[in-house]
């Protein structure tokens, strides 16, 4: 092995890849979330479909997409490698092991949280990405693929909403530990800045996961089968959604 592969197959090297890919995926989450907020526009999905058309056809985005695939790929691959290594570092388990008394639950269960997110991701990709890219969707009034319609109909299935919300909770917990952990792994822990990074990470985790979870919940509870706002929803909520639009 040369120095490069040695570096990135070492225990710290693998962690560095985890952290770099993890933080890269965080930036993806931000872009994805902001774009998807267009779902809330009460315009029959016109804006959202323009946005998704752009994302599906712009050559720069299409190139970055491959980076995203690699990001996920490495993140998952390194997670598997590290987990295997870590499991084999203690083959004889303790009779009593009370890590809950000295650490946070999320930090010890990143693998489980990640796996839930992965399952979600596969369902999510199949349902939206795959069908948008390789399937045939009805055109909307602008002749764009009407992905909006698919989203709305999906979000009216209770099990789909439940999966989404559960996955977003997992993502929240994953980020709760992962964001700060990414900085720690890169060596960016300084007594001056760490409190900021930590609190920003907590806020990031809550906002991102709540933001994504709000979409299926919005459609399930507050819109009809076509995505139009229900008129019989409580007055306060109605005001709120209108104000948002």
């Amino acid at each position: 092995m040369n120095w490069f592969t040695k570096t990135f197959t070492s225990s710290i090297g693998r962690k560095i890849i985890m952290s770099l890919t993890g933080l890269f995926l965080c930036t993806f989450l931000v872009v994805h979330l902001i774009g998807n907020f267009q779902l809330f526009k009460n315009d029959d999905g016109v804006a959202f479909n323009v946005y998704s058309h752009f994302m599906g056809h712009n050559p720069i985005i299409r190139t970055i997409e491959w980076g995203l695939v690699l990001g996920f790929g490495f993140h998952i691959y390194e997670a598997l490698m590290l987990t295997t290594r870590n499991k084999s570092a203690r083959s004889h388990k303790y009779d009593q092991f009370h890590a809950e008394q000295n650490s946070e639950w999320t930090s010890r269960n990143m693998g489980i949280l990640g796996s839930i997110i992965l399952i979600f991701l596969l369902v999510h990709l199949y349902n939206f990405f795959w069908r948008a890219r390789f399937g045939t969707l009805d055109p909307d009034i602008n002749k764009n693929d009407d992905l909006y319609k698919l989203v709305v109909s999906s979000f009216h299935q209770w099990w789909y909403v439940l999966l989404y919300v559960a996955a977003q909770a997992s993502l929240g917990y994953h980020l709760w530990h992962g964001f700060r952990s990414g900085f720690q792994t890169l060596g960016l822990n300084h007594r001056k800045y760490m409190p900021l990074i930590k609190n920003f990470g907590y806020a990031f985790a809550v906002i991102v996961s709540a933001g994504f979870a709000s979409m299926p919940l919005y459609f399930f509870f507050f819109t009809n089968e076509k995505g139009a706002l229900l008129s019989d929803m409580p007055a306060v909520l109605h005001q709120l959604t209108l104000a948002f639009n």
Binding site: W3, S11, A89, D95, A99, H177, Q184, L186, G187
Partner: protein, 261 residues
Amino acid sequence: MAGSNPNAKPMNLTLRVWRQPNRQTEGRIVDYKVKDISPEMSFLEMLDVLNEDLLHQGQDPVAFDHDCREGICGSCDLFINGRSHGPEKGTTTCQLHMRKFKDGDTITIEPWRANSFPVNKDLSVDRSAFDRIIQAGGYVSVNTGGAPDGNEIPIPKDIADRAFEAATCIGCGACVAACKNASAMLFVSAKVSQLALLPQGQVERATRVENMVAQMDIEGFGACTNIGSCAAECPVGISLENIAILNREFLTAKAASNNLA
């Protein structure tokens, strides 16, 4: 004889102790009863009572490592009720006192569990992996004799203090034992940070971290996933910041050193 506290009531306890004759033979947990344990006793003195009883009965006493019983040598290493060195924060097993337990308690005592720390017998484990990591680079290469005057290189007080804090690691292995991944990162980072902070450590800064991390991996310790159990259970309070320093040192060394191997 009464203790310093005349009101301290003696306790009866059930101990669940890991017994294993040697490295090759599989062990098991055995239950023992101990009576009239004074709350003033240290945890190891309580085990002394058990061992004296066992010896009188012609049974093999429980082997465990201990020495200074002042919390500084790092010999004692018991995993008590699922925690490194037991329930009290910032405390080695030898400084844990029985007043932290209640009459009638059941206490489970296990050895440190990590493949890199094989069991010698009962509760005694082999921590020579730590020595080999230090041998890989945890030093400044200066022979006896040629050192310049101690005051030749001033060191800012806060740097000296931080180096000292990292240097207080007692090498007990509680970090490895408490870590879900059996990672030795806190131990390694304490030494790397100490020497990376001090001017004396600069010359070998890059090779040190490269070699120590390589040895850490060879020994089979797990990787750090930033859980924080290690620092929470460290009896001398080595902070997680050291692990960040280690990561940083490793990354910069790998990126910039002339070592192509």
